[in-house]
């Protein structure tokens, strides 16, 4: 190809990519930059004049016990949701991979929650946890596991776990799809060789499945972690951060601070801290993945 033809092809590529790049700038980069800018502004609705606030917003939120609590709740929520979704997802993926009859049908059934919108999912769990007519109380009561109906969302600990379970239920299909695909990519010869060598089921899982499943597991953990860190709908509809501040996670805190109470600067500061945390976690995880890939 001549240099001028190369230049033309390069221009064409840029030209064809331009709309996508513009959209990314308009809807991802520009809002992030704007929120970062707002986090340094003294912008409180109802207070009239606003201006540059330096680090005041960051100082204010970091000194606020509610923000610290929201940070710890977010870590707990995200950590447990990811753990639960990954373990259940792995279990189901292994089950589907084990040649059970009707596995194809089961895959479709398992994927179903993924197709349910977040809002519908939250409303469904609202009904399941209802203290007077909820399905959970009904089932546990009829099995004799509880003596009387319980208000699952009325204590911080049970509310947090109820929300985590509801959110993990939504994450599981994603974990199953990725891990099932990972499992099918592992050559069967490895298992045949291991069997000849006398390796049992657990040894096969420990020394073949798990190491070869590490990259898809990494993808599952990474994506689920990022989604969990910014989970909003489920908290908004099930508990609104309560009881007390028992389920107050950062994304809901930001919404309340900025949009309900009009402290836009402080809300933006918390949003930036949340974004920073997510970036840091992602970077750390990617690095760990690269290192582990390098050592293999």
């Amino acid at each position: 190809m001549t240099p001028s033809a190369l230049r033309r092809s390069d221009f064409l590529l840029r030209f064809l990519n331009a709309p996508a790049i513009l959209l990314v700038i308009a809807f991802s980069i520009a809002p992030i930059v704007y929120v970062f800018y707002l986090s340094f502004q003294d912008l409180r609705i109802g207070m009239g004049a606003s201006g540059f606030a330096g680090l005041d917003n960051y100082r204010f939120v970091l000194e606020d016990a509610s923000v610290i609590k929201a940070f710890s709740n977010t870590f707990y929520f995200a950590g447990l949701s990811v753990l639960l979704a990954t373990l259940i997802g792995l279990g189901i993926a292994l089950l589907l991979h084990s040649d059970i009859p009707g596995a194809g049908w089961l895959v479709s059934a398992v994927v179903l929650p993924w197709a349910i919108p977040e809002i519908v999912n939250a409303l469904m769990w609202q009904w399941i946890y209802n203290p007077t007519y909820g399905a959970l109380n009904g089932i546990l009561y009829s099995l004799g596991l509880i003596a009387e109906y319980r208000a699952w969302l009325s204590s911080p600990l049970s509310a947090m776990h109820a929300v985590i379970f509801a959110y993990a239920w939504k994450l599981v299909p994603f974990a199953v799809i990725i891990l099932y695909a990972g499992l099918t990519a592992i050559p069967t010869e490895y298992y045949e060789a291991a069997e000849i060598d006398g390796a049992g089921d657990f040894a096969q899982f420990r020394y073949i499945t798990l190491p070869l499943l590490a990259p898809p597991l990494g993808v599952v953990v990474l994506f689920c972690m990022v989604w969990s860190m910014r989970a909003f709908d489920i908290v908004y509809l099930l508990t609104r951060g309560g009881p007390g501040d028992g389920t107050m996670v950062l994304s809901y805190f930001v919404f309340g601070k900025a949009f309900e109470f009009g402290d836009v600067g402080a809300g933006a500061a918390v949003a930036c801290l949340l974004a920073l945390m997510t970036f840091a976690l992602t970077a750390l995880y990617m690095r760990a993945l690269r290192n582990s890939a390098g050592t293999r």
Partner: protein, 436 residues
Amino acid sequence: MNDPCRKTAGRLAFRFLAAALITAAGWLIPSAAFAQTTIKFIAWNFQVETVQEFVKQFEAENPGIKVDLEIIPSAQYAAKIQLMRNANTPFDGLYVFDHVLGQWASWLEPLDGYEGAAGLKAKMLPLARQSMTFNGKLYGLPYFTSYFGIIYNDKMMKAAGIAAPPKTYAEWSEQAKKIKAAGLAQHPLIWPVKHTGWGGMWIMNAMVASRGGKLLDDKYNVTSEGLKSLKWWEATYREGLSDPNGIELDPNESARAFMTGNYYTNLTASFFAGAQWANDKEKSKVAGAAFLAPTPEKQATVGFARMYGINSASTNKKEAWAILKFLGATAKSGDYVTPKQWVQKGALTWGYEGVEKDAAVAASLKSWGADPDNMAANLKNALAMNEVVPFQAVWYAEWELFANGVLQNVLAGRMKPEDGATQWSEKARQLAARYK
């Protein structure tokens, strides 16, 4: 040159133009004669059909104004309105919560200068006037007002051999213990204490007012009346008199729980005793046996007002004021058309003096066992929230959400009342400093 083709073309063009002019005139003349201004009015989703009916009545009385009514769910109302305002979304009139007035006053239209506003203000109940006035300016006309009282189950009370509802807090506890001991209710007391929406802290304010005090003093310390109320309330949960499962119930849900007939009292807004709630003959098991009693001790209480306001950015303020007057005061006949209908359709009480004297209003109140004069007296004497807490501070809504959470922790036994009171004070000081 007389070209016949040109002549024909000229005649055709002339006829076409004439036809176009006549058609345009046909469109323009009627629309000029019946020029309509469309205003956008925003409401939350309480009895939407009733509101739509009121809008129709208004449009019939004001043929020059068409109302584009937008309904927003209550739970998202405050946040969505704030977003619309920030985004300069055009709207003219709206419902306003009194607890966000301090925050919204910067963009709401002061109404004092509008024709007839001074006269209406003079006729308002003190509760309505105070709740809708911020920094000396009037920002709304009343949608409804309500006060806090004890709704009690008369049937349960009499079954336990109790003669009258409680007049002191000690008596209230004793009565609840008696009812519990008699096996009439596992937990005789139910409260709306969900941490979002109005709930726990408004009940707290009512209790503090009933003891004749404020919740926070000038330095934002919790007063002795405040701490006393909190300790009494916490004890009712500790002693099993209050239902622990009710801790996540909002006012509507606690009212519905009371309707099951399993509870003795529910301290809440007065309208929950109405024919649409506790005295609903079809849905409530306590219908005919649910009555309103005043709060104990000094029997003072707090109340609140919801209002109609105008967006200061509206370009149709005259028309917005017209609908405000229709909905929040009188129709052209001078009659309180919509306030009276709200009493009948929603047990929502009024914001002006003398509405209870209307025969239909009095009959409606009596139909569910309320005494119109008694209700009017309670409404007249109810304190506005800002006499008990810094209700109109810009930061109040944020403080209240926090305080509701702390209250839940105290009532559930996760925190001592003294520690809860300290947290209320510290948060109030922190927010007051931020919004100085």
